[in-house]
């Protein structure tokens, strides 16, 4: 059993326990929209498709649970290689340790399912699917005039493989109902 396996087990256990402990307090639904720059990193090179990031979430106290859908806005090219990401589906948990702070820090954990299309001369078109543990960090600040409206900045490692890393950086608007 690898260290990574034990780490995942620990994280899953914590996540399964958290809702039961906090579900009764001050729940709010929110939605978020963000342009997002996806980075597909390999040892040799990186491609950067541009995405639109939609999120629907559920917040109570320091916990946020959200479903994320990202869809392609603009493919990226590396010489003759075309890379597009038609969709990314994620389920993420945000932990906000200090809710009273002006600029709130988020720890992000979850899982993602990433669909990558690619095309190269002599190889043709192909699709690849990656799913796995996601983690990241984010910041959130409310507009003083409209407290329900917040500005968010997230960096999330969507997929962390042996030689492939896929991460996203998004700058978005978050609205609480």
């Amino acid at each position: 059993m690898s260290t990574l396996y034990h780490l995942k087990l620990l994280i899953l256990s914590v996540l399964l326990l958290l809702p039961a402990a906090t579900v009764s307090a001050d729940p709010r639904i929110y939605m978020e929209f963000a342009p997002s720059l996806l980075r597909i990193n390999t040892p040799a090179a990186t491609t950067r498709p541009l995405m639109a990031d939609f999120r629907l979430g559920y917040e109570f106290y320091e916990h946020q649970y959200e479903a994320v859908l990202m869809t392609s806005v603009k493919e990226d090219k590396l010489n003759q290689l075309t890379v597009d990401v038609p969709s990314v589906l994620s389920v993420l948990y945000h932990y906000v340790p200090d809710r009273s702070a002006q600029l709130k820090l988020h720890y992000i954990l979850g899982g993602s399912y990433i669909h990558v299309d690619s095309s190269y001369p002599g190889i043709g078109d192909g699709s690849d699917y990656y799913y796995g543990l996601s983690y990241g960090i984010g910041f959130e600040e409310a507009f003083s005039s409209i407290p329900q409206l917040k500005l968010t900045l997230d960096w999330i490692q969507l997929y962390h493989g042996d030689r492939l890393r896929i991460n996203t950086t998004s700058l978005g608007i978050h609205y609480e109902f």
């Binding site: 399964l16 809702p19 010489n79 003759q80 389920v91 979850g110 993602s112 690619s118």
Partner: protein, 466 residues
């Protein structure tokens, strides 16, 4: 509901062993990064190498335009067939074992894989038997890459004839002799750069090349080589010339003091079909300089020896530059040949056939003055603009600095560069102080005008004296 959500999340977390799917996308990025669509070993790659030697294996990538090829220098995974005693490192350097064996070298670049069979031979290098695998055609003042062929012998008396491996190539010294008298030749020399052998020729004729192995002292037989005489003409051109067929030096060259003048020599070779081929033959030409500037001027080869650079730090002078290809009248030393013939006397071709020459004048012009920095009693002045003094000084002391075209600034205050412009009416305001330069005695109130003139550049200082 929430439980279901987190069970789904758990499924994600525990099913993230998705790494076997990574190869395709990673490989695509690898090949795309270098714009490569196919790979292959060079056609001239040796497939027999000696035991206990090092060989740099290279793989070529075909670019996506389907035409260009380039050596792939990174992201190649090298391996050898299983059971091989030899080894290959990450940069493609094959270290052969101390026993003969047959191996397969495998190069993997992204999703592209190519392999080549190599025989690691126990045969030992004996001597060079040919200068090149094909007939070597070289004309005067040209250069050619050499790939010498050697004889290798094994313990059982067998022999292999193949291109000399890099290990033994590094241990060979080369001498060239004129065939007619067996004297060391000044017609050509062999230079080794980055383990690549180049034959450079200076003049036409028949020569014999001998290769000596430093460790075994075995000397090759005479390897006869003809240096052709198809050079029809030679001419001097500016290194900036884009059309070698039309450039010339008929109107001479001019250069400013301290500026670099870059020259090339261009050879016109007659091809077998009667057409002309113009080539830059600067490296193998023999250059001479006749200058009235003494040590103040010099010519040096550029680092790649594709041009000759002339500079002079004395103005108003001339130099004659000459360039020849062939057997020149002047004596040249061995080091002149290996480092480039660049004499401090003119070269000439009066005594020898098959020697072609061109000459040109170089005029060295003085520097030009681009601007002046002028102060009067410490106050900055601007050309033609009136500067008002607060009080009447007894003297006006100018300080003048000239900014030259070679990006230097020189204090020229003491030069004879001042002319007082008398007022149209009224009394004289200033007069030049006797025995000084740039110092003026104030006589009366009014506007004083002093023109400063140096090398055709002028500055008008206008000062209002209260």
């Amino acid at each position: 509901m929430l439980k279901a959500l987190f069970i789904c999340l758990g499924v994600f977390l525990f099913s993230c062993s998705d790494k076997e799917n990574e190869d395709r996308l990673v490989d695509l990025h690898t090949v795309a990064n270098q714009d490569v669509i196919a790979i292959g070993f060079p056609a001239e790659m040796e497939t027999t190498v000696s035991i206990n030697s090092f060989v740099q294996i290279e793989i070529l990538g075909l670019k996506s335009n389907g035409v260009d090829e380039a050596v792939i220098t990174s992201d190649v995974e090298w391996s050898l067939s299983s059971g091989a005693l030899s080894s290959i490192d990450r940069s493609g350097i094959l270290t052969t074992a101390d026993n003969a064996e047959s191996i397969t070298v495998i190069a993997r670049f992204g999703y592209l894989t190519e392999s080549i069979d190599i025989w690691v031979s126990a045969a030992v290098f004996d001597q060079v038997v040919a200068l090149h695998s094909d007939t070597l055609i070289i004309d005067m003042c040209q250069s050619q890459v050499l790939a010498p062929v050697g004889r290798y012998e094994d313990d059982e008396g067998g022999e292999e004839i193949r291109t000399v491996d890099s290990t033994n190539l590094a241990l060979l010294t080369w001498d060239i002799f004129d065939q007619e008298d067996d004297e060391l030749s000044k017609r050509a020399y062999i230079a080794k750069v980055n383990n690549q052998l180049m034959l450079h020729s200076l003049s036409a004729g028949e020569v014999n090349v001998r290769a000596t192995h430093k460790e075994t002292d075995v000397v090759s037989a005479d390897l006869a080589q003809t240096i052709g005489s198809a050079l029809a003409s030679i001419k001097l051109c500016s290194a900036d010339s884009t059309d070698l067929s039309s450039c010339d030096a008929s109107s001479g060259f001019s250069v400013e003091q301290d500026e670099v003048l870059s020259l090339i020599s261009v050879g016109n070779y007659l091809l077998t079909d009667g057409s002309d081929a113009y080539q830059n033959i600067t490296r193998n030409s023999q250059w001479g300089l006749d200058s009235d500037l003494g040590d103040e001027s010099a010519t040096v080869f550029s680092t790649d020896r594709q041009q000759l650079e002339f500079t002079s730090n004395t103005d108003d002078s001339t130099a004659d530059i000459s360039v020849a290809c062939g057997l020149i009248d002047q004596s040249i030393e061995d080091e002149d040949i290996s480092e480039g013939v660049n004499l401090e006397i003119p070269v000439s071709c009066d005594l020898n056939d098959n020697c072609l020459i061109d000459t040109a004048d170089i005029t060295v012009n003085p520097l030009t003055v681009l601007s002046f920095d002028v102060t009067a009693n410490g106050v900055n002045l601007t050309h033609t603009e009136t500067t008002l003094f607060d009080s009447r000084p007894e003297e006006i002391t100018l300080n003048v600095k000239a900014n030259y075209s070679n990006v230097t600034t020189v204090d020229v205050t003491d030069e004879d560069i001042y002319t007082i412009i008398d007022p149209v009416d009224g009394l004289d305001v200033i007069e030049e102080k006797e025995g000084t330069s740039g110092v003026f005695t104030v006589l009366n109130a009014g506007i004083a005008k002093i023109e400063i003139n140096l090398l055709g550049k002028s500055f008008l200082a206008v000062i209002e004296v209260p």
